[in-house]
Every structure is written in structure tokens, then in C-alpha cells.
Amino acid sequence: MRRLALAIGVAVGVLGGPGAAVAMDGPMGGMHGSGHDDAISIAFAAFAPTRVDVVAGDTVRWTNDSVRVHTVNAEDGSWASPRLPGTDTFAHTFDTPGSTTYYCVLHPFMRGEVDVHNVLLAAPTEPGAPGRSYTLRGRSALPAGQNVTLEADSGAGFQPAGSATVGADGSFATDVIPKTTATYRAVAGSDASPGVQLLVLNRKLATSAKTRGRKVSVAATVAPASMGSPVVLQLRLPLHFGWWPVARAKLDHHSMARFALKLAHRYPARVVLTLSDGATALATSRTFHVGPR
């Protein structure tokens, strides 16, 4: 099966968030697959990124973003691009697992590498939290229905940490509950993905709240500092059958966020630090009460 490659090193930086790290993710399956880009940029004197991990069957596309003419040539001579003036592109499909190095014949010091795998795990882009669920995603060239085992190594060797099933679009995902920072890999039979690291931080939320009439103000601080991370103010509302998000903010450069709202009644409240999906909880404050008595 041909598909556009996920050059993971590039994609995670562009899309952000564990929910977006692998292109064919989420409940919509492969529907939004065009959201990822396999592009490798050819700069004035380098390929960027110089090394990418792709899944067998992926197509990698190089674009000359410089003012010089370049080429893309396999070191073993198995494939080669024509001369590529500025803005021209070249694509090659990698069907066989293994490592391929390539270079520019006009500037032989320019070198790159494409590593082709049967199973690939996307590198987490945000820290997790101890004891909190974290979704790891990947892609595979293996048939749909194939089982994939997630393994974690926190210093004592790889141990099973979860399992997933390859979907029709080749993607898989599973939730793991990390205790500490570890390296994860996906294993299917004799195939194993390169390891990726999930950083685990134990962050704490402190809150203070004031109610004056119907006006409510809540301040939340996260330690260690997590500037830019999202926090959500939730109220426990009977008609919403649980905790319900009523306001969102991002931590400022003091790792603090403030919420202001008006309430007609008094409710239990809490603040939750989340991943960039705004939903996956990393730390939860104590429960407090806001609103008029």
C-alpha cells in the first residue's frame, strides 16, 4: 500500500500534541490523513531533517527550498532524482524495511538518511504525568488486525506496557499509564520500532478562589513551571453528570492562570492541567466551592 510518509521528526513539530503526532489519528480514523506532510526540505547546504523514520510503503517527498540546484541520489545507486532547481520536488516510495542513505551529487557533503520500518511509534511531544493515562500512537505496514505490543524501558530493560491492534489505515493507538520517564517501543513479531522517550513530570496545582455576589474569580498555579500549558476550570454539574469544563486558559510566564465568571448558584469546582488536547488530565487541584451561598 502506498501512502504518504510520516516523517515523524517533522510532523510532531508541526502538528503538536500526542493526539496529532501521527497523521492518521483520532476517532475519525484516516479521514484526516492529508493533515501530515512528509516533506524533507533541501536547504542551501543541507537536507532538513537529515534523518527520518518512515513506514514501509511510505512516499517521501523532497522540495528544493534553496536558490541552488540540487539532486537526491541513493548512495547505493538504486534511485536518483533529476536536477532539481529551486521549488522543484522529487518523491520516492520506500517499500522495504531498512536504512537508505542519500546525497546530493552536486554537493556531496549534503547527506541524509531514510530509515524504513514495519512498525513505527510517534515520539511524544508533551510530558506525561505519573499514574495518568497517556496515548501513544503509531503506524504500521502490517495487515489490519495485527497485534502490536507496547514496551517500556525505564532502566531495567523493556517490559510490556500495553497493546494495540493495527487499524485498516495502518494506524494504532493505546493508552499507557507511565510511572516515570521511560523509553517506549512498539513490537510486532520480529519487528520493533525505534524507541521514543516519554518524559514524565509530577506537577502540582494550587488554587485560590473568591466569590463576590455572583462574580467568581479563580487563580491556579502549577509547579514546576509549565508556561503555555492549558488549564481548565471545571464545575461539577448534575445535568452534565460530572465535571464539566466552563473556562479554559493557558499558564502565563509565572505558570499562573486566572478565571473570571458569573454564577447563580454554588458548585464544587476544580482546576485541571491538561495536555494540549484540553482534555487529558495531567494534574488536578483539590476540590473547592465557588458561587453565592
Binding site: 496529532a20 475519525m28 496515548t135 453528570f241 465535571w243 488536547d277 487529558t280
Partner: protein, 312 residues
């Protein structure tokens, strides 16, 4: 207790669309500014559970990036709520409720701000009158920019609400991205009153549509996540019901009845893809009620919500 109810609109499929009588010259011009905008972390179940079955849900199952219709102030100055006050407790799906009255001209100024997928989008309206340049449907080699508004581009759809447009009608993306867009929630409703017809105190939009592994109402699944509609005894309430996707649904409200298009008393009414109906009643029954699709598999997969009526 039986009560009189009004069927405001018949099924949308019964409405003529493109060639009917011209409106009165005194028609009001209603203008709306709408954009296709990213909703990068749309969550189908913010309370993270199927409360009725006490089953937890994970954000990895329920959060996904999508593109939605969003209402703006004039010239896309800044975004404003899609729903009028009291119509819903959520926003973005469905798109703006576009209200007008028979005889009105309606200009919908559309801008494609899809920076997420950078896809073309459009708006295609049912139930109203327009020229082909406002059809909003992509036909290769035939249609114009109206059906293929590229990122950063704009188009103004010029519509007219005729006397045969009274009721509620769908609109949706009909560009080359139509399939993905509708699966991600790019749809909404026109609500057109007859001349002299009073507006209801509360207007509730219910859009049945599949989304990922769930069956959703307004892009949300399971009680508490789907809209919690509220009213007060004595208010006139109107339900605008629509289906998108490829399945039929049966709209059911507990503890209430209304007149079917055939004049019979019903408490469950079928709606198919791109069909719509509106029902009205004067609320008399305080309490917390369920509304849902009565196709069992759909209800179990999330098509169920709460309707709360407060005493006067």
C-alpha cells in the same frame, strides 16, 4: 396530556429550491458573516463518560481536530456565538442558526479560514431560492468559486426566502471536501418564519450525525455532553431537528407529544439525511426529560440528551 403542536415545516426534501416566486419588494436584507475555522480539539464527550451505563471514556476516543462553521461580526471582525441565547449550552457544531422571515433576502458572506487542513470549503443551502452562482456545490468544469472557496478566499451567497421556504432547512459544505467536512461537523440550519409568525421563546437545534465511533447530537455524545436544553413552563419552545450522514433517525422526547405532518399525535418522528422538521409547543410539563434518537444502536452510541423544564 395532549396538546396542540405546530408542524412548522415539512420535510426539507419537499421544498422546491431554485426556481420559484420572487419575494416582496419590501423584503428585509439579512446579512451573516460566517467562516470555516479550525476547532483543533473538538471533544465529543467533555464529561468523559457514558453516564447512563457508567462507562468511562478517554480523550483519545473523543477528542479530534476538525473544521467548523463559525459566525462572525460584520466583515469577519470577531467571532460570536453560533446559537442565539437560550438555544443551546454549547457552540460551534452545528454552525450558525441563520434566522430570517419569508420574503427576506439573505446574504451569507463566507470566508475560508481553514488553516488546519487547508481544504476548500463552501456553503450549500436547502429550502431557499438562489441563482446557480449561490448553489455552493462543486461540479468539475461547471461550478464556479461558490462551490470551491479556497483557503483565504471569500464568497457571498445571495439567497431569498420565499413563501415556500418557511420552516427549517439544512446547509452544509458541498465543496470537494464535502465528505470529510460533514463527518467533522460542517453543517447548520436556516430557520425561516412565515410573515407575522411569532418567534419561539426557545429554539433548540438537534442535529443527528455519526462522528467517529459515536452517534452524536450537535457533535456531542451521551447525556450531559449533548446539549442540555432548558425552558420554563409557559414558554413556547421549538425543536429544529435535522439529520446528516447516511442513516435515518427517530426523534423522541419523553413526556411530550406533537402533531405529525399527517395530523396524528406522535412522540417520535423520523428524519433522514438532510431532512429537517420543526415542532412547537407551549411548555406545560416541568421536570428533567430525555430526548434521543430511538434507533437503539444510535441511542446506545451517544444520541441521547437532557431537556430540563423549570417550574414557572
Amino acid at each position: 396530556m395532549r396538546r396542540l403542536a405546530t408542524i412548522v415545516a415539512a420535510l426539507a426534501g419537499m421544498g422546491a429550491v431554485a426556481c420559484a416566486t420572487a419575494p416582496a419588494a419590501s423584503a428585509e436584507l439579512r446579512q451573516f458573516w460566517v467562516a470555516a475555522t479550525p476547532a483543533p480539539t473538538w471533544n465529543m464527550a467533555p464529561n468523559e463518560r457514558d453516564a447512563i451505563h457508567n462507562m468511562p471514556l478517554s480523550p483519545s476516543q473523543t477528542v479530534f481536530p476538525t473544521v467548523v462553521y463559525r459566525r462572525y461580526t460584520k466583515d469577519w471582525g470577531h467571532p460570536i456565538p453560533n446559537q442565539p441565547t437560550g438555544s443551546s449550552n454549547q457552540d460551534l457544531i452545528p454552525g450558525p442558526l441563520l434566522r430570517a422571515r419569508a420574503g427576506d433576502r439573505i446574504y451569507v458572506h463566507f470566508k475560508n479560514l481553514d488553516t488546519l487542513y487547508k481544504r476548500p470549503h463552501s456553503m450549500h443551502f436547502h429550502g431557499v431560492h438562489y441563482k446557480p452562482s449561490s448553489d455552493g456545490a462543486y461540479v468539475p468544469g461547471i461550478s464556479g468559486r461558490d462551490g470551491n472557496v479556497k483557503p483565504g478566499q471569500t464568497w457571498t451567497y445571495k439567497l431569498t426566502a420565499g413563501s415556500d421556504s418557511v420552516g427549517v432547512w439544512p446547509y452544509h459544505d458541498h465543496s470537494p471536501s464535502m465528505e470529510d467536512s460533514i463527518a467533522g461537523g460542517m453543517y447548520g440550519m436556516l430557520s425561516i418564519l412565515g410573515k407575522g409568525q411569532p418567534r419561539p421563546d426557545r429554539e433548540f437545534e438537534v442535529v443527528f450525525a455519526p462522528m467517529g465511533d459515536f452517534q452524536t447530537i450537535d457533535g456531542r455524545a451521551f447525556v450531559g455532553n449533548t446539549p442540555v436544553f432548558t425552558s420554563v413552563v409557559g414558554q413556547t419552545i421549538q425543536w429544529d431537528v435535522m439529520a446528516m450522514g447516511s442513516e435515518h433517525h427517530t426523534f423522541h422526547v419523553h413526556g411530550h407529544r406533537w402533531k405529525s405532518p399527517f395530523g396524528t399525535d406522535v412522540d417520535t418522528q423520523t428524519v433522514g439525511p438532510a431532512e429537517t422538521f420543526a415542532i412547537r409547543w407551549k411548555e406545560e410539563d416541568p421536570g428533567t426529560w430525555l430526548y434521543h434518537c430511538h434507533v437503539e444502536a444510535h441511542m446506545m452510541a451517544g444520541m441521547i440528551g437532557i431537556y430540563h423544564v423549570r417550574p414557572k
